[in-house]
């Protein structure tokens, strides 16, 4: 990127400044982290979080394919399954997932007219 001159600072001027600040402090924190008491990534429970994030990205793919109603139902099923605990949760998971998909479709797609993809598969089926 073009740094420009001090007389006429180019597009790369401030990014370079900020990046240098960031790099300096990162180094500082890194050194302190290596010398100080250890804290490991293991302390973080990350399984549910990973499933959650992954399911949202899959939702993005599914949305084009299967349309809003079905994809949202699947996504919310996964999310509620992560969030509800204990036995006998599945009926409730299915209920809340279906309710969210339906209400979401009514509110956002029908009332507020957000143009969600219709879904290629749905088009075939119709």
């Amino acid at each position: 990127m073009d740094l420009g001159t001090l007389r006429n600072p180019g597009p790369g001027f401030l990014p370079l400044m900020m990046a240098s600040v960031l790099a300096c402090f990162s180094l500082f924190v890194l050194v302190r982290g290596l010398t100080g008491p250890a804290r490991f990534l293991k302390e973080i429970r990350w399984m549910s979080q990973a499933v959650m994030v992954a399911s949202v990205f899959l939702y993005g793919l599914l949305l084009d394919l299967a349309g809003f109603l079905f994809s949202t139902f699947v996504l919310m099923g996964v999310l509620f399954a992560l969030s509800f605990k204990g036995k006998g949760r599945w009926p409730r998971v299915l209920f809340f997932a279906a309710a969210t998909a339906l209400l979401g479709w009514l509110v956002f797609s029908v009332t507020l007219k957000v143009p969600f993809p219709r879904g290629h598969l749905m088009a075939l089926w119709r």
Binding site: M1, T5, P9, L22, F25, R45, G60, L75
Partner: protein, 501 residues
């Protein structure tokens, strides 16, 4: 007389039915967000911002502000009844509020929180009204070097006030600036940091970033939380504080209002910080400091007043200088930009309806909130019983739909999720999101004013030190940095932080 004309314009704007409606809905949603733990006002506002695209700028600013100060009212309810803060600015209210509720004085605790908020809200709007216009007239004389210095000072104070580590806060600020420079450079038209993604040509939006950091990150943080929210089963009884309560609290409310307003003006002086500072002040002023933490009514009144005043305080630099001082103001700033209103010293003269309409709507909103919160308190107690395991997936769903609907593309949803993960990790490793968001919003202003200044001076950095205003600002920034390294251990205010809840 000009003043009365202005305030009249303001009330005319506010009393238009559509604006009354948005003011009321904003306050209602704000209270709801405040009551519900799990999502704070910044997350809620960023989800709701796309909704305001189609309404007028005045209505949308009135609406979004209503959410912010409404949340300050609602947050106290959860703190008092559940001992869990409904949003960050009512963390301290838990200390004495919950104890009061356990002693059967939930009613007066809720009452004084609402009345304190009302008094602080009203008086701080009056202060906002009198302070903004002169300050913006003063700021009209500011050139690019002054703005550069002002932003540098702002970021310095902001990171100095960071709760955890100034170094980490500075890193977040630098990162925020870098994010702001993604996309096409305004002066030369060159693409920066786009890595070939066409979606990045326009830069990253504030919405996916804020939704990720304040919405998705909260959900990721709390999804493993298995506990139940258990509202204290108590008779609320009389909500009106008695004469003795008033005698004990009128001074704390006054001090809380004052402190909150001042802290709100300072960059980085969030409502949360204001509530901590005023709680600490009351503890020091009190003749019986040992009562604090055991149900002292002053310990509810002061922080609840000051967090309301802090919001109005934050509006002063936003409207007078165009510099947001806290995350809520940064989002209002973004909302104005989206509506094509340029915040800055020209805002009040050019769009008097926005500023005076907002001021008038805040008088009215505070009255509405008193009504929403006191007689209807029973309804909010019911809302409290909605378990987080139902709420969290729904919040994520709203974030996804919100991010999608803003541009009708899934690209923003992806960006939002990335920032959600980032925000989640940042929280775990004590990095704060506020410097990032503020730096992101201020990034373009800093870049333009700095490049313009250097062009003016022909590449001489002396331009920042030869003009009295910018020199003063920079010297202040330098002193703050110096004092951080000299007195690292003695940052008294933050030592009074209560244990994490």
């Amino acid at each position: 007389m000009e003043f009365f004309g202005n305030i009249l314009t303001g009330f005319q704007t506010t009393f238009q039915p559509i604006n009354l409606f948005y003011c009321f809905v904003g306050c209602l949603i704000g209270t709801l967000i405040g009551v519900l733990p799990g999502i704070g006002p910044p997350g809620a506002v960023s989800i709701l911002l796309p909704v305001t695209f189609k309404i007028s700028p005045v209505s949308s600013i009135i609406f979004l502000s209503g959410i912010f100060y409404g949340a300050m009212y609602g947050g106290s309810t959860t703190s008092i009844l559940v001992n869990v803060p409904g949003e960050a600015a009512s963390v301290v209210t838990c200390l004495d509020g919950y104890q009061m509720a356990r002693q059967g004085r939930a009613g007066p605790a809720l009452g004084i929180a609402a009345f304190g908020s009302f008094i602080a809200g009203t008086f701080s709007v009056i202060a906002l009204m009198f302070l903004s216009t002169p300050l913006s007239k003063f700021a009209l004389a500011f050139g690019p070097p002054e703005y550069t210095a002002l932003i540098i000072l702002g970021i310095t104070i902001l990171t100095y006030l960071a709760q955890k580590s100034m170094v980490k806060a500075l890193m977040m600020a630098a990162f925020g600036f870098l994010l702001a420079y993604i996309g096409i450079d305004m002066l030369t038209g060159k693409a920066r940091y786009t890595f070939g993604f066409p979606g990045l040509m326009d830069g990253v939006g504030i919405l996916p970033i804020a939704m990720g950091l304040f919405g998705v990150a909260e959900v990721l943080e709390n999804i493993d939380f298995s506990g139940e929210v258990s509202a204290l089963k108590t008779r609320l009884g009389n909500l009106f504080p008695n004469r003795q309560d008033w005698r004990a609290t009128w001074k704390p409310i006054t001090r809380g209002t004052f402190i909150g307003f001042i802290v709100g003006i300072i960059p980085g002086g969030s409502a949360t910080l204001a509530s901590f500072v005023s709680y600490a002040t009351e503890k020091r002023c009190s003749k019986h400091p040992e009562r604090f933490g055991h149900g002292a009514i002053e310990g509810v009144a002061a922080p609840e007043s000051s967090n309301n005043a802090a919001f109005s305080g934050g509006l002063v630099p936003l409207f007078a200088l165009g510099i947001p001082s806290s995350v809520p103001c940064a989002l209002l700033f973004a909302a104005m930009m989206i509506h094509g209103v340029q915040p800055g010293p020209f805002l009040i003269p050019e769009h008097p309806d926005i500023f005076w309409g907002l001021v008038a709507s805040m008088y009215l909103g505070n009255i509405m909130l008193l009504i929403i919160n006191l007689p209807l308190i029973g309804m909010w107690v019911q809302v409290l019983r909605i378990p987080p395991r139902i709420l969290l997936p729904l919040i994520l769903f709203f974030c996804i739909v919100g991010a999608y609907a803003a541009n009708n593309s899934f690209f923003d949803v992806g960006v939002m999720m990335l920032f959600g993960v980032l925000g989640f990790l940042m929280k775990r490793f004590d990095y704060e999101p506020a410097p990032l968001v503020l730096a992101f919003v201020l990034g373009p202003i800093l870049e333009n004013s700095m490049r313009q200044s250097l062009k003016l001076s022909g590449g001489n950095f002396g331009i920042f030190f030869s003009r009295p205003v910018s020199l003063t600002l920079l010297v202040m920034a330098g002193l703050i940095l110096l004092s951080y390294f000299l007195f690292k251990k003695q940052r008294a205010v933050l030592d009074d932080k209560p244990p994490e809840t």
